[in-house]
Amino acid sequence: MNGKTLEIAERTTNEILDLLIDSYRALESAVAYALNQFEKDGEDFEIFHYVDTVRYKTKIQLQQKGYDVKYLALNGLHISHNGYEIKLLKDDNGHIPPARHSKTRLRFYRQIYQRQHQQTLFESLEQAIEENNVSESKNLVLLYKIGRKGQLLGLELFCTDGAKSQNDSPTAIWSAEIPHPAESKSQNNQYERPIKDAQIFDDTDEDSEDLDIFKDGTND
């Protein structure tokens, strides 16, 4: 990643940081809910049921937080936020799922929505960005990665740059691992610095008083 791309990646993640944190929290909760359901019903883990439950629960939670969220035709969610179009997808063996028969998704991966006119002048979008002729891409993929038994392994944000074919996972101009919400450093995150004991809750007046251990002065 060159300097310009890195700058764009940082700016983009900062601009949607609230969504990234809320999505992580929603997915964490949805995954826990889905796994609990299997246990509660005494059923074995089943991926299709699991994915549907996770998608449904995540959508509900994000909508409750006021995000513009829609179901995607096959899988995943589509979120419009701060001028970005974001597809929230489950990973395909650690990679972004190929577009396969979906031309819409292929166009999305290729960033064609916003800037098809500019892109025709360049061999790739990355080249366009390097030459400062195109501002940052607005189509993003937020990939949630799961383990064999459905455990949430993490989230990664991708700015895609098309794919060789519809059956290939798209390549990325840049990507960023999303830190767990407990570790994230958003502007609203009051826990970025170490927490002093006296700050763990509000009544800081207590801290100003010294100990009361003496009777009435020294004997000497």
Binding site: S29, L35, I200, I213, K215
Partner: protein, 386 residues
């Protein structure tokens, strides 16, 4: 020369008798002679006494005084130290006794309030969390904040020893009518709070150990600690299924306890099942939070002993630690080392730090074995700093 104090100083320095013999080699003292000196069976010459004092880096006057009230060496004390090697255990106990000596020396010159710390009878043991919350002025449904300050205010002596030991968090003893809690340094605030409350439970409920099973006592203290820190009635309303690490991280900040303690409490209160507990631990391991959790909480500094020094040894608003060292006949570096962990300490170490490397071997707790694959047994190098 007081042989008990030779032994004490040697143990504080973490030296064996053989190492002391090596340190005073030019004087050709044998290990047998050192042993006899420590047992007060042999009075060394003035020259030898000076050599021993120099090797131990203690003022010679220290060894020509009466012994102090010492920590009882009963099972209460060694309960928390049983996993350690004898030499390391001695170093911890003797260093802690230096902290208590500082307290005791100053206490004789000050009028201190008597301890209001409760002793709870066995029949009331499960009321201990509420009795102690009441004694410390903590509301029944509120998080526990500034626990050390609250304990010091009701007369508990908190000694912070200048040793960073991974395997050791703290221990507690009653010395005459004073409850004493000894804490190792270098722990996070949540871990320190848990240790302090655990030791507080021992002081309040296990002051008499006659006929008790030590493992049962530990389990009992853990149960009472959980209820004191995370009262069931409130926690059942605050930990809501499905439980996520994000939620627990928020609760860690609110309640000042570790995420792992919250997982355990949720399991104990049947808010989560054993599989959900296992899932959360897998997530914790995957994120490398086992030993380094996010939302780090700073530890609390004790205050009382430094405050006593301020009362007795202040000149122009600055504590003259040299005078305290002279009164106690302790090395100045040791006085500084002990007091440097206290809130309000203003001195600077007058000697270069002396680092001892000690090797500890420990077995991981059951919980680790359940959920971690690669670390059944490990050893860690621990730096002892003076």
């Amino acid at each position: 020369m007081n042989g008990e104090l030779v032994k004490k100083a040697r143990e504080i320095e973490g030296m064996t008798q053989i190492e002391l013999v090596e340190a005073v080699k030019p004087y050709e003292i044998t290990q047998a002679a050192i042993a006899r000196i420590e047992q007060n069976l042999l009075e060394p010459s003035e020259e030898t006494a000076k050599a021993i004092a120099a090797a131990l880096r203690f003022p010679i006057e220290y060894f020509y005084q009466q012994s102090f009230v010492d920590f009882p060496s009963g099972s209460t004390l060694f309960r928390c130290l049983k996993g350690l090697k004898s030499k390391d255990r001695s170093q911890i106990v003797q260093t802690a006794s230096v902290g208590f000596q500082l307290y005791q020396t100053m206490a004789t010159k000050l009028r201190l309030k008597s301890s209001g710390f409760p002793k709870i009878s066995h029949q009331d043991i499960f009321s201990a969390p509420s009795i102690l919350r009441n004694a410390l002025g903590i509301e029944a449904d509120k998080p526990v904040k500034q626990i050390i300050k609250k304990l010091e205010n009701i007369g508990v002596v908190v000694v912070s020893i200048p040793l960073e030991i991974h395997e050791h968090d703290g221990f507690s003893v009653w010395i005459e009518d004073r409850p004493v809690i000894v804490l190792s340094r270098g722990k996070s605030g949540d871990r320190q709070r848990r240790t302090v409350v655990h030791e507080m439970m021992h002081l309040a409920c296990h002051y008499s150990l006659a006929g008790n099973n030590l493992d049962e006592i530990e389990d009992e203290a853990d149960i009472l600690t959980n209820e004191f820190l995370l009262p069931a009635e409130v926690i059942k309303q605050e930990i809501i299924s499905p439980v996520t690490l994000s939620d627990l991280a928020d609760l860690k900040t609110r309640w000042g306890v570790s995420i792992q303690s919250l997982v355990e409490r949720a399991y104990e209160l049947e808010i989560i099942t054993i599989n959900q507990r296992k899932y959360l631990y897998k997530q914790i391991s995957q994120k490398n939070w086992r030993t380094s959790e996010p939302r780090y909480i700073e530890s609390e500094q004790p205050r009382a002993i430094q405050m006593m020094a301020e009362r007795l040894y202040s000149q122009n608003g600055k504590v003259i630690y040299r005078k305290l060292a002279e009164d106690t006949k302790l090395p100045r570096r040791l006085v500084h080392s002990v007091l440097s962990a206290y809130k309000g300490y203003t001195g600077e170490s007058e000697t270069q730090s002396n680092v001892f490397n000690l090797q500890f071997h420990r077995s991981k707790k059951d919980i680790d074995e359940d959920f971690t694959e690669n670390d059944n047994q490990d050893s860690k190098v621990v730096n002892f700093r003076f």
